[in-house]
C-alpha cells in the first residue's frame, strides 16, 4: 500500500518471546494517519501481544516501535497520552458509577473536571446510557459496561485509538453505531487499530487489513486487494491463509464423531 505521508506508527523487526515460545517473529509495519487498520489472526497468533506493546503494557521486547518518529520507550507517557485503548478483557472498577469512573480516567489524561463531566454526559447520552450515569456499574449488563469502556477509551479525544474486540456484548444497534463512529473518527484524521474476530465487521470498517499468523504478518492490504486472490469474503481469505481452508472437512469430522 502506497502512502505519501510519514507513518504515525512504525514497527521494525518486532520480536517477543514468552519463555521458549516465540510469539512475534520479526513484525515490520508502517501505519499512516487516518488509517483504519483491521488486525486479525487466529487465537495465539500474536495480536494481543502487539497491542500490549503498542500501548506500553509490555516493554521487554526486541526491535523498535516508533510513534511520531519517536521510540516509544523514550517517552512512553507522552505516547500514552495520545492513545485511546479499549482492552479485550472488559476490566472496570465496577463499584464506581460511569461518571466517577470517567472522571478518574479523564483526570489521568490530565483533563479538567468540568470538561470531563460535560464530555462524559454527552458520550453517555450518545451511547444511550445517560440515565445510568449515577448508578454503580456492578449492576450493569456486559453491553453497558462495554459502552463505558469504549467511552473511557475516547474521552480524551486521542489521535490513535486501539480497539481490542470493542463490540463484545454490544447489541445490534450499538454495533451499527460503533461501526459508523469508527468511520467518522477516521475521517477526522484519527488512526484506528482494530483487533477483532468478527470478519464481517473488519471487512466493512477497515481500509487496510493485516493478517497475523504464528507471529508473522502474512497478509497486508485493503479488502479489495486481498480479494484479488479469488475469495470473495474476508472469512474465506482468513481460512485460506491460516491453513484452515477446509472447514467443511473439520465439520464432517465433528459430525462423524457424533455417529
Amino acid at each position: 500500500m502506497e502512502n505519501t505521508s510519514s507513518p504515525i506508527i512504525s514497527i521494525k523487526n518486532l520480536r517477543k518471546n514468552y519463555g521458549e515460545k516465540q510469539v512475534l517473529k520479526g513484525v515490520n509495519l508502517d501505519i499512516y494517519p487516518g488509517q483504519v487498520i483491521g488486525y486479525i489472526g487466529p487465537n495465539g497468533a500474536g495480536k494481543s501481544t502487539t497491542v500490549k506493546i503498542l500501548t506500553g503494557l509490555i516493554s521487554d521486547y526486541e526491535g523498535e516501535v516508533l510513534m511520531y518518529d519517536q521510540n516509544i520507550q523514550n517517552d512512553i507517557l507522552s505516547i500514552k497520552a495520545q492513545i485511546g485503548y479499549v482492552p479485550e478483557n472488559a476490566e472496570i472498577y465496577e463499584v464506581l458509577t460511569p461518571l466517577e469512573y470517567l472522571d478518574f480516567v479523564g483526570k489521568l489524561y490530565g483533563m479538567e473536571e468540568d470538561k470531563i463531566a460535560e464530555r462524559a454526559m454527552k458520550l453517555l447520552k450518545a451511547f444511550g446510557i445517560d440515565s445510568n450515569a449515577d448508578q454503580r456499574m456492578d449492576t450493569f449488563s456486559k453491553g453497558m459496561r462495554q459502552k463505558v469502556l469504549l467511552i473511557s477509551g475516547i474521552i480524551h479525544n486521542p489521535k490513535i485509538i486501539i480497539l481490542d474486540e470493542p463490540l463484545s456484548g454490544l447489541d445490534a444497534n450499538a454495533v451499527i453505531m460503533v461501526k459508523e463512529l469508527i468511520s467518522l473518527l477516521a475521517k477526522e484524521g484519527k488512526t484506528i487499530f482494530y483487533c477483532s474476530h468478527m470478519m464481517d465487521v473488519v471487512e466493512k470498517v477497515s481500509d487496510r487489513i493485516l493478517l497475523i499468523n504464528q507471529g508473522e504478518i502474512i497478509a497486508d492490504g485493503s479488502f479489495e486487494e486481498l480479494k484479488a486472490g479469488g475469495d470473495q469474503t474476508l472469512e474465506r481469505i482468513f481460512a485460506k491463509l491460516t491453513g484452515k481452508e477446509d472447514g467443511n472437512q473439520e465439520a464432517n469430522d465433528v459430525l462423524s464423531a457424533l455417529n
Binding site: 500501548t55 506500553g56 503494557l57 507517557l77 507522552s78 500514552k80 497520552a81 492513545i83 485503548y85 482492552p87 478483557n89 476490566e91 472496570i92 472498577y93 463499584v95 464506581l96 466517577e100 478518574f104 480516567v105 483526570k107 489521568l108 489524561y109 490530565g110 454503580r136 456492578d138
Partner: protein, 561 residues
C-alpha cells in the same frame, strides 16, 4: 470527607514525591478513587450487612468499627494484667496478629488488583506515581486499621499517665511496621513455595484461619485471661519469648514506667524494639520489595480466576471420586449430581471460605461447652469429662458441619452456569438433588464423623460405638430435613445473597431437632438396647425421608424460588 483530609495530609509531602518522579495530581486521583472503592468493597466484616443492603458505602469504616471493638477486648488484657511485661506482650502479640491477618485476608485482593494493569497502566501515569500510590494506599489502609485496634489501648495508656501514653504510641508504630514486615515475609515465603495461582488459594485458607481464630479467641480467651497463673510469673524466664517482637515492645513500656528497677535484659530488648522496625523497613524497601513486585506482576500475568481452586479433580483423586460415585450413586442423573457437587465444592473458593471454618468450630464449641464454662482446673475438667457421656455432645455437634455444608452447597458467586439444569430434559430434579446430598454426606459429613468417632472411641472406649451409629443415622436423617426445607436449588445454582424470607420458624425447628434428639439420646444412653433399636428406627426414617427428597419436583423447586 475524611478520606479527602487524609489525602490532603498525605499530599503535604508532594515536594518529596516529585523528587521521585511522582505526579501529585495523578497521585491524588488514584488515591481518592482507590479509597472510595475500599469503602464500597464488601469485606470480611461487611458481608453480614451486605445480605440486607446490596450496595456497601462504608465498608472500610465498618472494618474500623469492628477492629475498635476487638481492640477494646485486647485493652481489657492491659487492664487485667498489672505487669507491663506480661500485659503488653500479650496485647501486642494480639495486635500484631490481628493487624497482619486483617491485612492478608482483607487487603490482598487490593494489593494484587489485576484490573490496574488494564485501567491505570495504559494511561499516561508514570511508574513512580503508580508505585508510590500503591505504597501510600497500603500505608493509609494499614494506619487506619492500626489506629482502630489501638484506640482504646491508647486512651487507657494516656489515662495511666502521659509517659505511658506517649510510649504506647511509639509501641503501636513499631508493632505496625513489624506487622507489615511480617505480612511481607509471609507473602514472600508463600510465593516462593507456591505458584501464583496457589497464592490465591493461600489467601482463602488464611481467611478461613482468620474466621476460626476470631471465633476460638472469643470463646476461649476470657477463660484463659482469668487464669491466675498469668499474674505471678516472670515472663523473661521463658527464653523462647526473646525472639517474639511483642516482648521487645513490652520491654520498652517496662523501661518507660519502671525505669529505675529495669534490668539489663530489659534495656537490650528495648534497643532491639527501637532498631527492629528500622532494620525491617530497610529490608522491605531494599531487599524484599523488588522481588515482591516481580512476583506480583507474575500473579497479574497469570490471569484472574479469583474464585477457582484447581487443587482437585486430577489424577488419583478423580479416580477415587469416580469409584465412590459409581458405588453410592450408580444412576446416571444421580451420578451427575454427585460428581458436580464433589468437584465444584473442591474448586469454588467462596464455598470453601464459608464452609471450612465449621469443621474447626465443632471442637471449639465442644471445648467451650465441655469444660471451659465449668469451675476448677482444666485438668480436673478433662478427667471429669472422661467419666461422663460428653461424647454425645461432641457427635451431635457434627450436625453443625452438615447444616453449614447444606446451606451453602446450592450457592456460589458463579451461579449463572446453572442454566444447564434448565436446558437439559431433566424430568425429576430430585435425582440431581439426591446425588448432591450423597456427595455432601460422603465427602464432608462421613469423614468428619469418622474422625470425631475415632477420637470418641479412644477417649471413652468401644462401648460408645452403638451411640455413634445412632448419632450418625440421626445426622443423616436430620440432613435430609435440612435439605428438604432449606436447600431448594441445584448444586451451586443460586446467588449467595439470595433472600429466603419467612423461614424463621423452619430454621428454629431445624436447630431444635438435633438438640432435642441429642438430649433424648443423652437420657437414653444408659439403656444400650434402646440405643440399638433407635439406631435401626432412625436408619429406616433416614431412608424414607431420603426417598421422599429424591422425588423433589420442578414445582417444589419453583415454589421455593
Amino acid at each position: 470527607m475524611i478520606n479527602k483530609y487524609i489525602i490532603n495530609f498525605v499530599l503535604l509531602f508532594k515536594s518529596i514525591y516529585k523528587k521521585f518522579g511522582v505526579n501529585p495530581e495523578h497521585l491524588r486521583i488514584i488515591l481518592s478513587t482507590k479509597m472510595k472503592m475500599d469503602d464500597r468493597r464488601p469485606n470480611v466484616y461487611s458481608q453480614q450487612k451486605q445480605k440486607k443492603q446490596k450496595q456497601v458505602n462504608n465498608s472500610s469504616w465498618l472494618t474500623m468499627f469492628f477492629l475498635c471493638l476487638t481492640g477494646l477486648f485486647f485493652t481489657f488484657i492491659l487492664g487485667a494484667i498489672k505487669t507491663p511485661y506480661v500485659g503488653h506482650t500479650i496485647y501486642f502479640s494480639a495486635f500484631m496478629v490481628m493487624l497482619a491477618i486483617t491485612l492478608i485476608s482483607d487487603f490482598t485482593n487490593v494489593l494484587i488488583d489485576v484490573r490496574d494493569n488494564y485501567i491505570i497502566l495504559p494511561r499516561p501515569v508514570s511508574e513512580a506515581t503508580f508505585t508510590v500510590s500503591r505504597i501510600l494506599h497500603i500505608g493509609i489502609h494499614t494506619s487506619k486499621m492500626a489506629l482502630a485496634i489501638s484506640l482504646s489501648g491508647m486512651i487507657f495508656s494516656f489515662w495511666q499517665g502521659p509517659i505511658s501514653g506517649l510510649m504506647f504510641l511509639l509501641e503501636v508504630l513499631i508493632a505496625t511496621v513489624l506487622s507489615i514486615f511480617l505480612v511481607n515475609i509471609i507473602y514472600l515465603i508463600v510465593l516462593k513455595l507456591t505458584s501464583p495461582q496457589r497464592f490465591k488459594d493461600f489467601i482463602s485458607y488464611f481467611q478461613i484461619i482468620f474466621s476460626v481464630s476470631i471465633f476460638a479467641a472469643y470463646y476461649t480467651l476470657p477463660r484463659l485471661i482469668n487464669a491466675s497463673m498469668l499474674e505471678n510469673f516472670d515472663i523473661k524466664d521463658i527464653k523462647i519469648l526473646a525472639i517474639v517482637p511483642s516482648m521487645w515492645i513490652a520491654a520498652l513500656h517496662e523501661l518507660a514506667v519502671n525505669f529505675k528497677t529495669a534490668d539489663t535484659l530489659t534495656f537490650i530488648y528495648s534497643i532491639v524494639a527501637i532498631l527492629s522496625p528500622i532494620i525491617s523497613l530497610w529490608l522491605v524497601v531494599k531487599v524484599l520489595a523488588p522481588g515482591f513486585n516481580q512476583k506480583l506482576s507474575s500473579i497479574s500475568a497469570s490471569g484472574d480466576d479469583s474464585n477457582i481452586i484447581s487443587s482437585e479433580g486430577k489424577g488419583s483423586s478423580r479416580g477415587y471420586m469416580n469409584a465412590v460415585a459409581k458405588l453410592v450413586a450408580p444412576k446416571p442423573i444421580e451420578n451427575a449430581g454427585f460428581k458436580i457437587t464433589w468437584l465444584l465444592s473442591s474448586r469454588y473458593r467462596d464455598f470453601k471460605v464459608k464452609v471450612y471454618p465449621a469443621f474447626a468450630y465443632v471442637p471449639v464449641y465442644f471445648l467451650y461447652f465441655g469444660f471451659m464454662q465449668k469451675k476448677g482446673s482444666i485438668a480436673d475438667n478433662w478427667e471429669g469429662m472422661k467419666e461422663g457421656n460428653m461424647y454425645i455432645l461432641l457427635v451431635y455437634l457434627t450436625s453443625f458441619v452438615l447444616t453449614t455444608v447444606l446451606q451453602h452447597v446450592s450457592m456460589t458467586e458463579r451461579y449463572k452456569a446453572s442454566w444447564i439444569y434448565y436446558s437439559t430434559p431433566l424430568r425429576h430434579p430430585g435425582e440431581v438433588l439426591a446425588g448432591m446430598y450423597k456427595a455432601v454426606i460422603v465427602k464432608f459429613y462421613l469423614p468428619y464423623f469418622l474422625i470425631i468417632s475415632t477420637f470418641s472411641i479412644v477417649i471413652w472406649g468401644p462401648k460408645v460405638i452403638n451411640d455413634l451409629i445412632l448419632a450418625f443415622m440421626v445426622g443423616v436423617m436430620y440432613g435430609v430435613l435440612v435439605a428438604l426445607f432449606q436447600v431448594k436449588g441445584f448444586p451451586f445454582s443460586q446467588p449467595i445473597n439470595l433472600k429466603k424470607g419467612g423461614k424463621m420458624f423452619v430454621s428454629f425447628i431445624i436447630i431444635a431437632v438435633p438438640l432435642g434428639l441429642g438430649f433424648l439420646h443423652h437420657w437414653a444412653a444408659k439403656w444400650e438396647w434402646a440405643i440399638s433399636i433407635a439406631a435401626v428406627i432412625m436408619t429406616g426414617a433416614a431412608w424414607l425421608m431420603f426417598s421422599y427428597y429424591r422425588k423433589e419436583s420442578w414445582e417444589s423447586l419453583e415454589m421455593a424460588d
